[in-house]
Every structure is written in structure tokens, then in C-alpha cells.
Subunit: 436 residues, 2 copies
Amino acid sequence: MDLGYSTALLTDHYELTMVRAALHSGVAQRRAVFEVFARRLPPGRRYGVVTGTGRLLDALAAYTFDEAALEYLTSHGVLDEATATWAAGYRFTGNVWGYAEGECFFPGSPILVVEGTFAEAVVLETLVLSILNHDCAIAAAASRMATAAGDRPLIEMGSRRTHEEAAVAAARAAYVAGFATTSNLAAGRRYGLPTAGTAAHAFTLLHDGERNAFAAQLAALGPDTTLLVDTYDVPRAVRTAVDLAGPALGAVRIDSGDLGAVAREVREQLDSLGAPGTRIVVTGDLDEYGIAALAAAPVNGYGVGTSLVTGSGAPTASLVYKLVARADSAAPGSPLRPVAKRSVGKPSRGGRKAALRRRNSHGTATAEVVTLGEPAPAPNDRVLLRPLVRNGEIVGREPLAAARDRHAAALRELPPTARQLSAGDPAVPTEFLGRP
Amino acid sequence: MDLGYSTALLTDHYELTMVRAALHSGVAQRRAVFEVFARRLPPGRRYGVVTGTGRLLDALAAYTFDEAALEYLTSHGVLDEATATWAAGYRFTGNVWGYAEGECFFPGSPILVVEGTFAEAVVLETLVLSILNHDCAIAAAASRMATAAGDRPLIEMGSRRTHEEAAVAAARAAYVAGFATTSNLAAGRRYGLPTAGTAAHAFTLLHDGERNAFAAQLAALGPDTTLLVDTYDVPRAVRTAVDLAGPALGAVRIDSGDLGAVAREVREQLDSLGAPGTRIVVTGDLDEYGIAALAAAPVNGYGVGTSLVTGSGAPTASLVYKLVARADSAAPGSPLRPVAKRSVGKPSRGGRKAALRRRNSHGTATAEVVTLGEPAPAPNDRVLLRPLVRNGEIVGREPLAAARDRHAAALRELPPTARQLSAGDPAVPTEFLGRP
């Protein structure tokens, strides 16, 4: 997708001043490898979900410095003349490999590998992490909610609880992780997601009485709509709804009270009124635990807002972008040498890595194997890194449905503990093979 | 600011289908008043911070449906012909009042009041809440961090931990709440914020030895730069830094370890090396508590990332947009009638409201007074709502510096408990006067 705007300034000041200093010292063109990984998952989580890859490729294609950006950067002393010249000609010419979108990941999984000159690769750090940290955080929460919901559809409706553009990305991430629809129209248009909606209390309050409001909605949108029944008195509203729409009424929505108890009463009432096909949708501060708690209630769908767009307690995925190898000179063919810092409490492993999902003969994942150098996959192993960008050319684009299908398959492949909502260790251990 | 793109689809599906049904039933043009307020503050927080107003006014000005949006909405069955015609001519023509940007708020504070026809006002719900819920959440966290930091400057550097556009808005919100600078270049350009940066470990690892890296940075950026000293061995790095830069060295940054202990050692070392003017900047998972814990350490500035952009535990501000009054007919002059739903556990107060900050003779705030109808301010009271949009014309734009100054003043006016980091009740009680 052509974004139609430059993403070059969606970065940190220091990325460009580092390029400036590296150009000055003559090392900017050294070949370098950066890796994106998480040192740990959020507390208690069993797996992470790679999401945002498609957005990242679009953002990378739009990473060029236009006149206005260059003028800003030079007039504010961020770039000197040499760096401005470099920036004006910027176009990523390196290689990117990544875990495919929708794939699961674990602590240490090298979910993205960026290889290029130091200069061209380092400036992507902030943008790459912004996209992946946000989208992976949302998808990880969404995936747990989808597990909790089972076969019942989930509607993503959190746009109002997060930044207006984060909302669009959140809808996309939720869809990859198994949500059925979103309320966000920009996400519908931009990514082809199915959109859905019901009505707000304001719509009922606007009309002279609930009956008029329901009649208006039914007349305009047809009987297969969802009527909001908790503005005043639920049993009365349900009676009115079926009275007006008959058994063809699509659904009713409950947004307050003890959702399980109210749903049971409403189900009984709908059945007794001859509307057994009318569905019940519940909303109102649901998270994966709230959804799971309603598994035995007669609920047909869930709308999820705040907890989805805030990552259900983990609003960012803790992914980092680290230099793991670089050449000793800018000469072509100069070999890559592993590098790592020695910070306390922040383990870093130098050297370029590959990764396999080790699986037993039943196809169940048993380990995340991270290797230095080329891996040696056993027959059941899956190789996890695939090319996304080759010599600057984007080769990793795919339909969003592929990522959604992949996530479902990747999750099925994990041992059953992965799908427990309770806090615990990662579903499979990460094994690091080889020493730099 | 002209955004240069349409914001009309940054909304929920149901906003437009509600308009469609209301057009059908003939009530879409009834005069309506919506209010934005928070039922409660995040647990333990003493006050909220209004932020995002300027962004909201820009987004409102860009809220028009272009051809492509209309085509998407009609072809996907969201709009019928009548609603598409309405949308094609959409331009907000109503009035908006709000708490000024930077102002503090409390539970029930009507921080934004939107008056217009139901149709023109309801479609703004999602966008208004996205902007305010995000920006207010960030500013509330930033304000506490600024209090904890006292006179020491705070650098916002969280871009990589949040959605790439949320990052720009977060930098803006943090500035309003007292941060000194941001690392985000797009925020620097878009909002005129001062930007700042140091260097990453990758820059040191790229060079053949730390001495070469430091020399490169000093040569390119001058001695008043900030050298990152914890890639290998801190005391050796500090020695190298002063050896190369002399006493003119601007600052060193510490990003790992026990920041207080390391800062004390580095301060001693810098002083003993004759560099008493070299500042110490600390970074690394700091939040308001971490900042406060370093108050006695010889630290000159803090860089804050993750906790800032995730609202330090409260990533969204829980603001809602509720219909509180509407006319009985679309006829001009039809009086507004208070409305409210009767949901369990979600208190709503019908009727259009005004608000005052009640202050004692020392100028200290003692209550948030929310009144139905026009308020009667006592001599020390401050009227809180001011016009932002008048008959569709935006009248509330102001320089960002005004919001920043206002926040500092609004915070000073609150009782001292407001500035405690410990969990507690709102700093002043909200008093509701009058009954609808």
C-alpha cells in the first residue's frame, strides 16, 4: 500500500545524529545486522504474536526524506550538510527477514533481521519498533480473547480508547489474531476488514421513547440489526424489540449489569417470545477473563474495546532492535563480526541468528530453537525466518487473510498450555544453540 | 494546522448507521448536547490533565467526507443514498466549549461540550474520544513525572514503545505536562517541540573500540554532546570521555544497573577528573516512582520512554461522550431537554453543565463545582469552559506554550496532596449542583 506520506521523521533524533557521526568517522557504510527480539514476554503470557509486518513494509517503502523534512532537519541542526546529502538519497537497499505475520514468538525469537549498511539500517530502529511493539501487543491480547471466545465472534470496538491512528492498527492486529469484525471504518477501508456496529444509548435517548428508537433503527437498517436494550429497562426493551421486529430480529446488545445473569434472562425471554434465533451480544469492559467467564452463558458474540486496544495489561511488546554483527570495514565482502554490549540485567547475544520451531512427530511444538549461523532443521522442524525485503525490493507482501490463517495454525501447533489464560511460563522453551 | 487528509473515517461504523436511522425517522436534525467526562480517574490518581485540544480542533477541521470515503461507505452498505448526501455536505456547524488545554480535571468534569444537530455531533464521538483519551492519559502520567523530577529536565523518548503516530501525540502531551524535550523528530517538526538525543549502544559497537566511537561523536557533534557510557565498563568509559572531551563534555548517559549508585560513582569520578560541569543523564525503564527515588542522586536529567507512552499503568483516560440534552423537535428554538440512561453502575447525569474551580482566599482549589445551567462564580472561582468552536468556526486555537504554562499554573493551584505520588483520592472533591 502506498502510504502517500513520508515516514522518515517518525524516528528518534539520535538515529540521525548517530548517522552524522558515523559518516564523519567513516564507518557509516560498514555492513551491519540488527535483530528485533523480546527479552521476555509480558508477565504470565505464554506466547507472543508477530503482527504489523505488512504495515512495516508499507512504512519502509515510504521511508524517504522529502524537501520539507530535510529543511526542518538542517535548519534545526540535526543534520549537517554531508548527512543531509546522504538523507536526500536515502532508500533502503538492504535485506530484511522476518517471522511471517501471524506467527507466534517467544523470548529471544529473532522476529526481524535487518541487514544493510549501519546508516541505512539504524535509522529504521524507531519506526520498526513503534509498529511491531504496538501491533504485537494488541495481537497478543486479541489472540487470548479469541481463545476465550471459542467459536463466538468477537467485535473489535476499542477505537475511542486509543490514539485515532493506533485504533486503525489495533483493528488490523485484532483481525490477524482472530477477531471477526471491527467498528473502525478507516480499518475497514484501509485493510478490507469487515466492519460492524449496533447503536449507542444516545440513539435511544434522542427519540421520543425507546419504541420509536427501535422502530427507526429497524426501518432504516432492517430486522437483522442489533438493538441496544439496556437504556432503561431490559425486559421491557426486549419485549418492545420482538414486538416490532418479530422473530427475524438479528440481535440484542447488553452493555451493563451482570452480563451473564442478564443474558440468561434475555435468552429465556427471547425464546418465550418466539425469537430463538435472535442473538445476544454483550459489551462493557470485557477482557479475556470476562469473556471466559461468560462461556456458559447464552451469549452469541462479544464486543471488546478498552482491554483490546491497551493490550489487556501489556500495551507494548518490549521488543528491542539490537546491533548483533557488523563488518570491520566498509570494503565489500568484509566479514561480519558478532557484537554485544555488556549491560547488567539486559542479556544480549551477539551474532546473526536463525530460528526453528522444533516439533515432535505429532506436529506439536516443543522448543523455539535460536541458532547462530544456518540452522539444521530436523524433518518436523519449521524454519521461521523468511525474506521480506531483498536488496531493497519488498518481496514479503501478502494478503491479510494469510496472516490470520497462519496465526490460527501457529496457535494450534503449540502445546495446550499455550491456550490457558492463567499466568505461566512461555509455552515452549527457547534454546540457544552455538556461541558467537 | 491543516492535516491534509480527511479524518472522517476515524470513527465507528455505528455512528454513521445511527445517523442513517435518525435521518430516516426525522430526528437527525434535533439539537443535541454531548459532554465528555470521566466517571473516575485511574486508581489512586489525584487529577487528570486536559490535553489534545489543539489536535482535536485540527481533526475537526479535517472532518469532511471525500469522494473515496463516500464510495467506500456506500459500496459497503454503511450509508444509504440519503445519508451519503448528508455526509457529502458534512461540515460541523455547531459549538464546542472545553476546558482549556493543560487544565486539570476531576471525576465528572465536563471537559468538552459539543452542541449541534444530533447527526453532526454524534459522528464526532469516536474521534473526539480517541484524541482525548490518548493524550489525556499520557499527560496525566507525564505531569506526575514532571513533579517527581522537580527542576531536572525530562526527555521524552518513548516513540519506539507505542504506535508511530501515537508517539508524536505522546511527545506533544508530555510537553504540555512539563517535559523539556522529545526524541521524536516528527513531533519536533509538527508541533515545534525541542528535540534531543544522545547515542545508542549500537553506535559504540559499530566502531573499533569505545574510544573511537566517542571521538567520532565528539568530532561530529561537538563537546556539548551526551556520551553513552555503559556499553562495556562505566568507569573506563567515563575516563575515556573526559580524556577526549575535557571539562567541556556536555553529559554522560547511564542506561543500566543501579542508576542511583552508578550516578554517584560517575559524579565522583567526573569531579575528580576535573569535569564538574558535565551532566549525568539516566535512562532505563524509569517511571514517576523511579524518578522520585533518584531525587537525592546526583542526576541532572531523566529520559523516560515506556512508562510515559503507556500512561504509567493507565494507558487510556476513561473519558466518555454522552448525550445529556436534546430538543423535542428539529424546529428552531425547540428547547433542550435533559436526558440520561438508567444503567447499573455507570452514573450519568442528564442536562447541560458548566463548571467552576472553587478556590479559597489563598487561591488554592477546594472543589470542582459542576452545575446545571449557568454557574454563579464567587470572586475566587475560575470558570472552566471556554469557547473552542462557534457556529462551526474554530476560535480556540492557541500556541502550545500557552497550554504548557497553563498546566503548570493549574497544578500549582491544587492543594499539595495533588502532587503526592502515592495513591489517594482526587485532590479536590467534585460537587454537583442543581438537578435536571
